[in-house]
């Protein structure tokens, strides 16, 4: 059978596109879906989708910008608050007999490098063996934490966006590879064991800069991951352990490495090269572990998650994260409160740079030291947020949400929210409050 949408894809180059263009393209794709849904050609395909239209006070403060994720462009979301949470997703699924199915999903949203290829979040084929085993091959949602495989689907959770401290620093959203699942389900509950491997990539804009080396590509090998999920009645528990390694340095790190390898720097401050090497991401190993639960007794909602990331790179995200949410449904309204926290308190441990000698342009070494110290801030997330929100299910498959977040950001914690201040940014502990609203729907 001819691949769905292949005609449309052929008409558009796989070129860099910004979010509005991708959004328009997806809307264009959805027209034949609607028209053809009843026709014989499409009858066996399941076409569905989800969307979020939102507005966030991303430009409320002049010294710090609200972002949903580090993959978003800082200056774009600062100028356009509606970009922070808005997105549109289309999904198709096709079953072939009792054992095979195909799932494809594309999501249009604001991100640093917006291409049609990286807008595809899922494109995998699954083979189901009996009631217990299933195998997936292709592109899958990166399934290493509780909300990971549906965090684009605003309708499926109560927040305006998943807790910032826990989710905003996670740059990867999908992986290309293989997953094996074993499910043991009976009428009382479900136990699912999963193992996966693959590779992934993403682009980030951690600082405030625009274009060039401010937009950094990151590639990683998911060497091995394993997960376990247990569900019984209203309770579910999920744990994951994943080991991955970064395969390439970012453009900014390559630029820094080239600079410190200059003979002048090597001569007068040889330690700078070692410090830069400690920041290096290429071949850096990470181990990510998470444990999450949800308990939904009656009208109550209780859920939480904790995680630990351990890396052998000095300059990138480290430490622990956790959140806990409590909510209660009153008819169509569901007010909730969330506490989320990220612990990461690294200090810069190196000796001060030597004074710049007379034969070198004044301030060269001092300026390099400022850059090295300041770079650490971009990998630190040491903060907590208290969120108050309400979800209103005002109609079938449609929801309106409003949420306000009060965030305490400790010293040098600039790993998520960027500041336009030039280096040395030297962020000191402070509090910021942002409010956001979204309209979420599924179709």
């Amino acid at each position: 059978m001819k691949a769905p949408f292949s005609g449309h894809l052929a008409r558009l180059p796989l070129a860099l596109m910004d979010f509005p263009k991708v959004l328009l393209f997806f809307l264009y794709l959805s027209i034949p879906v609607t028209v053809s849904a009843e026709s014989a050609l499409w009858q066996d395909w399941e076409f569905t989708g989800f969307g979020t239209l939102g507005y966030a006070q991303s430009d409320k403060y002049s010294d710090l910008i609200l972002k949903r994720n580090i993959t978003q462009r800082s200056q774009e979301v600062e100028d356009k608050g509606w970009l922070v949470d808005s997105r549109l997703g289309l999904q198709l699924r096709k079953e072939w007999g009792p054992n095979w199915d195909l799932v494809g999903q594309a999501v249009a949203q604001e991100k640093t490098r917006n291409t049609l290829e990286n807008s595809i979040e899922m494109a995998f084929v699954r083979y189901q063996v009996g009631n217990n085993w299933s195998f997936r091959l292709g592109r899958m949602a990166l399934d290493i934490f509780q909300l990971s495989d549906h965090r684009n689907v605003g309708y499926s959770y109560h927040w305006v966006r998943p807790p910032t401290e826990f989710y905003s620093w996670i740059l990867f959203s999908h992986s290309d590879g293989f997953k094996a699942s074993y499910e043991l389900a009976n009428m009382d509950g479900l136990l699912r064991l999963e193992a996966y491997t693959g590779s992934t990539e993403a682009s980030v804009n951690i600082g405030y800069g625009q274009g060039g080396s401010s937009y950094n590509g990151a590639e990683a090998d998911l060497e091995l991951g394993a997960g376990i999920t247990w569900e019984k009645n209203n309770f579910s528990l999920r744990a994951n352990l994943t080991r991955f390694s970064i395969t390439e340095n970012t453009a900014a790190l390559d630029e820094l490495k080239a600079y410190v390898s200059d003979p002048t720097i090597q001569t007068y401050w040889p330690e700078a090269a070692q410090i830069t090497e400690d920041y290096s991401l290429k071949d850096a190993q990470f181990i990510y572990a998470s444990l999450g639960f949800s308990w939904l007794p009656g009208a109550w909602v209780l859920q939480g998650e904790m995680s630990d990331i351990d890396s052998d790179s000095f300059g990138i995200y480290d430490g622990q994260r956790a959140y806990f949410q409590l909510g209660h449904r009153f008819g169509s309204l569901l007010p909730h409160i969330t506490y989320s926290r990220s612990w990461d308190g690294r200090d810069y441990p190196y000796d001060p740079a030597p004074a710049t000698p007379a034969e070198v342009p004044a301030g060269t070494l001092e300026s390099l030291e400022v850059t090295l110290i300041d770079s650490l801030s971009s990998g630190i997330v040491n903060q907590y947020t208290i969120s108050l929100g309400v979800r209103w299910d005002f109609a079938s498959q449609k929801v309106l949400k409003v949420q306000c977040d009060r965030t305490t950001i400790y010293d040098n914690s600039l790993g998520i929210f960027p500041t336009p201040e030039p280096a040395p940014r030297n962020w000191q502990e402070d509090v910021r409050t942002w409010c956001s609203t979204t309209f979420d729907w599924i179709f």
């Binding site: 989800f50 799932v103 309708y155 499926s156 009656g298 299910d393």
Partner: protein, 156 residues
């Protein structure tokens, strides 16, 4: 102020988009039905929940199951899931959104109406569905067995 204005605007526009879900019309019971040849004669609430929440793909006797549903905005569907699970239909829809859009599994296939539901269950030995209460004798003539009856008072 901008965020408050936008929220107020949305609140004003909502009644123009769609008035909320249909009013609950019924105190009438809901029957869970299967094909006579499945050999099933009864299922308890826990078993029905496992099947209709996508946790189990087979009946307690090991036979493969195929669940059928009604339209998303149908009052019958709302009654069924709320009486069965004690959860709001919005919570059920959000639950299915998680499963569907994570690529794990799809919700039960939606049929057009009660007549089609009865016809499909009568023709498919793996089928399980639910309908507004009907005379079990008449259903038996169509090859259908009622394995559970849900009532409003059953809601947890």
């Amino acid at each position: 102020m901008k965020i408050i204005k936008i929220s107020l605007l949305i609140l004003v526009l909502i009644p123009m988009i769609e008035v909320g879900a249909d009013k609950n019309p019924a105190s009438q019971a809901i029957q869970v039905i299967v094909n006579d040849q499945s050999k099933l004669r009864t299922l308890n609430r826990q078993q029905i929940m496992s099947l209709f929440l996508g946790r189990s793909r087979s009946f307690p006797n090991g036979q493969k199951s195929k669940t059928f549903d009604h339209k998303m905005d149908s009052p019958l569907r709302q009654n069924f899931f709320e009486w069965l699970t004690g959860k709001s239909i919005s919570d059920i829809d959000a639950y299915w959104a998680r499963l569907r859009y994570s690529g794990r599994t799809s919700p039960p296939k939606v049929l057009k109406n009660q007549s089609e539901t009865i016809r499909r269950v009568g023709n498919n030995v793996n089928a399980i569905a639910y309908i507004r209460e009907q005379n079990p004798m008449l259903l038996a003539k169509k090859g259908i067995v009622v394995v559970h009856t849900l009532r409003n008072s059953d809601a947890q």
